[in-house]
């Protein structure tokens, strides 16, 4: 790109051609106030708060959309500019109910901050009288039209980021209203409650119901972490106050999701109604009695040490940190040489010969073939990446015998028996990408492997499945031959009934879990595990990227982080001092944990 010289506020600045005035100013550290602009969204110049004076231009121009040209002379805070901005703000404030005193967002509101900045201390225009509706129909958030400034950030986020196109504006001029679909309540609309609109709303128009009025941003702690609901590994910001988690927001600079989250990650992850296990439990006849950690671990260690490797079994969920999975591997597979090892989750196959693709490849692909997975329901953020690609013009071919949430967006929905047709689309494409999950059929997979130019994106079920696979924990278990079984079921809720039914009555079962389940009921010893909000460590996403998770609150009751329990058990078993979480960088460099090296700080 060619660089060109301009001046902003009489300061000489080098800009890149193609940049807007706002981008150039921001890069040079000159702040121009904005309202409708958001760095993650395409600028539309709707609110006129960023007006600047450009020499030679007949009128003031919005900095967010105006491209720089050679020799441009710009004033960002001249009296004319300040007067215009104040006028714009007075108009915005006069349109709806912008009384701050009973607004959830007061103190965190971009409109309020602009009012302070430009000294609005009374109305210039007649007091508002019109009452606009409030749409509280959605489970997790509410839309208060009275606070809306029609900046269209949510509309753009809904279409550009979530690629869901639910929100839009209807009517014109003073009658303009934000609307979901064809003017229906949000709960009746195509909204998927991903909540990305909450993160971009500059005012109190879109508000999280659960955490409303529980604290301003400045009163809260903000913890950057990684979502632990699926294998995508979205960057999140956990907002807490006094050891309580208020809400979760997307991290805009996160490598995988770049700000977007889904309903599962943002809302549902904070509500789990299953009964927690708060204390170590020991079976006495038909009952579980609370026990102390040390005695229980000692007992577990003695039982484990007493059996031969061929009678010892290990089952683990992939809802566990790299550190925990690694300790399991070190302790059970290497130290105790256990023969029966398996996962509680299914996995998507990952043949080493296949050209490995990543979620990021979806953005560059012109033909995406999806099979054996339903990301709309299981990995919603991945479905957003696909829907964005479709919006951009990429072809979407769904090969599925079951129902697929992507069917509505697909160019072709084919049965697995019609895979040949899918191959024809794939062959015509320049950069085909195959996304597959654990339900991929052998036949389809074999056929799709023939696509010469394709990359293959495995969408793993579970959470840390990539790491568990890399560590070789996905093998086989023969329940009949087990005398002792160690199960790390963590927070998993699928498959537990089935597993509990397979365990023979003679087997001594140790379960490490966060919630009560049929499996913990069957267990002889239960080790209470902290949930994902309460443990630090790292996770490897489905692409193999290792990312750091941070605890947002202290473990509840006597529960402990997954890896800490295993570390203590290892010590009881007299194992050598295995690698602890602060040495994770060592493992991140290891091939099995992917190539990204997390900047681990304890």
């Amino acid at each position: 790109m060619a660089s060109l010289n301009i001046t902003i506020n009489d300061q000489k600045i080098t800009a890149e051609s193609g940049q807007t005035v706002l981008e150039t100013a921001s890069a040079a550290g000159i702040e121009i106030p904005t309202l409708c602009h958001h760095p993650a969204l395409n600028p539309i110049g709707a609110c006129r708060v960023c007006l600047v004076e450009i020499k030679g231009q007949r009128s003031l121009q919005p900095a967010c959309t105006f491209p720089v040209t050679r020799g441009m002379e710009i004033q960002t805070e001249s009296p004319k500019v300040v007067e215009a901005r104040k006028f714009v703000l007075e108009l915005i404030f006069s349109e709806r109910n912008h009384f701050c005193m009973y607004c959830e967002m007061s103190g965190d509101c971009e409109l309020q901050n602009l009012g302070y900045r430009y000294g609005l201390d009374h109305w210039m225009y007649p007091t508002y009288t019109q009452n606009f509706p409030v749409d509280a129909s959605a489970d997790d958030f509410l839309l208060d039209h009275n606070r809306c400034v029609l900046c269209r950030r949510c509309v753009r986020a809904c279409s550009e980021l979530a690629a869901n196109h639910t929100l839009d504006l209807r009517q014109r001029g003073a009658l303009t209203m934000l609307t979901a679909d064809m003017n229906v309540a949000i709960s009746q609309s195509s909204c998927i409650s991903c909540g990305v609109c909450l993160d971009v709303c500059p005012t109190g128009a879109l508000v999280d119901k659960r955490s409303a009025f529980l604290g301003r941003d400045c009163d809260c702690d903000h913890i950057a972490s990684i979502c632990s609901q699926c294998s995508i590994g979205c960057g999140i910001e956990i907002v807490t106050r006094a050891n309580s988690v208020l809400r979760i927001r997307g991290l805009w600079d996160a490598p995988v999701n770049a700000g977007v989250l889904c309903k599962k990650g943002r809302f549902e992850s904070l509500v789990d109604r299953r009964p927690r296990i708060f204390s170590p439990l020991k079976r006495l006849n038909d009952r579980h009695l609370p026990a102390d950690w040390d005695g229980l671990l000692q007992l577990a260690a003695e039982r484990i040490a007493a059996v031969a490797p061929q009678h010892l079994g290990l089952l683990t969920t992939t809802h566990a940190t790299n550190e925990a999975l690694n300790l399991l591997n070190e302790l059970f597979c290497r130290h105790l040489k256990v023969r029966h090892v398996d996962l509680l989750n299914p996995v998507a196959p990952r043949p080493p010969s296949l050209p490995k693709g990543t979620l990021a490849d979806l953005s560059h692909s012109d033909c995406i073939l999806v099979t054996g997975t339903d990301p709309v329901n299981t990995h919603p953020v991945a479905s957003m990446l696909i829907k964005r690609a479709v919006d951009r013009g990429a072809q979407l071919i769904v090969i599925e015998d079951r129902e697929s949430g992507l069917a509505a967006y697909a160019d072709q929905v084919l049965k697995t028996s019609e895979t040949d047709q899918a191959l024809r689309f794939g062959r015509r494409a320049q950069r085909p990408a195959v996304m597959y999950g654990n339900f991929v059929s052998k036949g389809v997979f074999t056929s799709l492997k023939k696509l010469a130019k394709a990359v293959y994106v495995a969408l793993q079920p579970g959470v840390n499945t990539h790491a568990a696979l890399s560590l070789g924990l996905h093998q086989h278990i023969d329940f009949a031959s087990l005398a002792v079984l160690y199960v790390l079921s963590g927070e998993q809720h699928e498959q537990l009934n089935e597993v509990a039914a397979k365990i023979t009555p003679e087997t001594f079962v140790v379960v490490q879990a966060s919630y009560a389940s049929p499996l913990t009921e069957r267990a002889d010893l239960v080790l209470p595990m902290a949930i994902w909000l309460e443990r630090s460590g790292s996770l490897t996403n489905t692409d193999g990227i290792v990312q750091q998770v941070r605890a947002a609150r202290a473990p509840q009751g006597q529960s402990k982080p997954d890896w800490e329990i295993l570390r203590m058990l290892t010590e009881k078993l007299g194992g050598k001092p295995f690698v602890l979480p602060n040495d994770i960088a060592h493992y991140a460099e290891h091939e099995s944990f992917g190539k990204e090296n997390p900047s681990w700080q304890k």
């Binding site: 109910n97 009384f99 701050c100 005193m101 009973y102 607004c103 007061s106 103190g107 309020q112 009012g115 302070y116 900045r117 000294g119 201390d121 009374h122 109305w123 007649p126 007091t127 508002y128 009288t129 019109q130 009452n131």
Partner: protein
Amino acid sequence: MAKVTIATDWLAACAGCHMSLLDIDERIFPLLEMVEFTSSPVTDLKHPPVDGVTVGILTGAISNTHNIEVARRMRSHCQILVAVGDCATFGGIVATRNLVGTEAALKRAYLETESTVAGLIPDSPELGVPLPIVTGVGEVVTVDVFIPGCPPRADDLYFAIGELLAGRVPKVLPPEHLKYD
């Protein structure tokens, strides 16, 4: 030197702004060396003196005809009129009445509440007549200084009085003293 005279009065208000003024705490003693509070709704003397005062302070919104009278009386009796609080500057909480309309609000409050038996909307000639729209003071009289806040913090009020005593009329309070809530 003669003391600077200040009179205060309230319109449709909750008294919170006056409480906030009292919240300047012990700073009120040195202030009283320089200032005489001639009249206020919380003292024996309610009305501003006939000769007028230097500074008039109004809190509360314009909600009925009586509020207009009080606002006009204060305006004509003071040199500098200060509107204090969100109600006086913007209409505030009182202005939420605008969302349903005065008639509906009166009906709900005096006739339809669950505990009302044989209710009656007050219409004594001594009372002010509710206005169709609640507004800030600025829509009725000329205001010199607006101090929003619900209520404005004691520090904001103390700062503003200090400025006035120093002979400065702040056009807009500086950002650290300008708050809407």
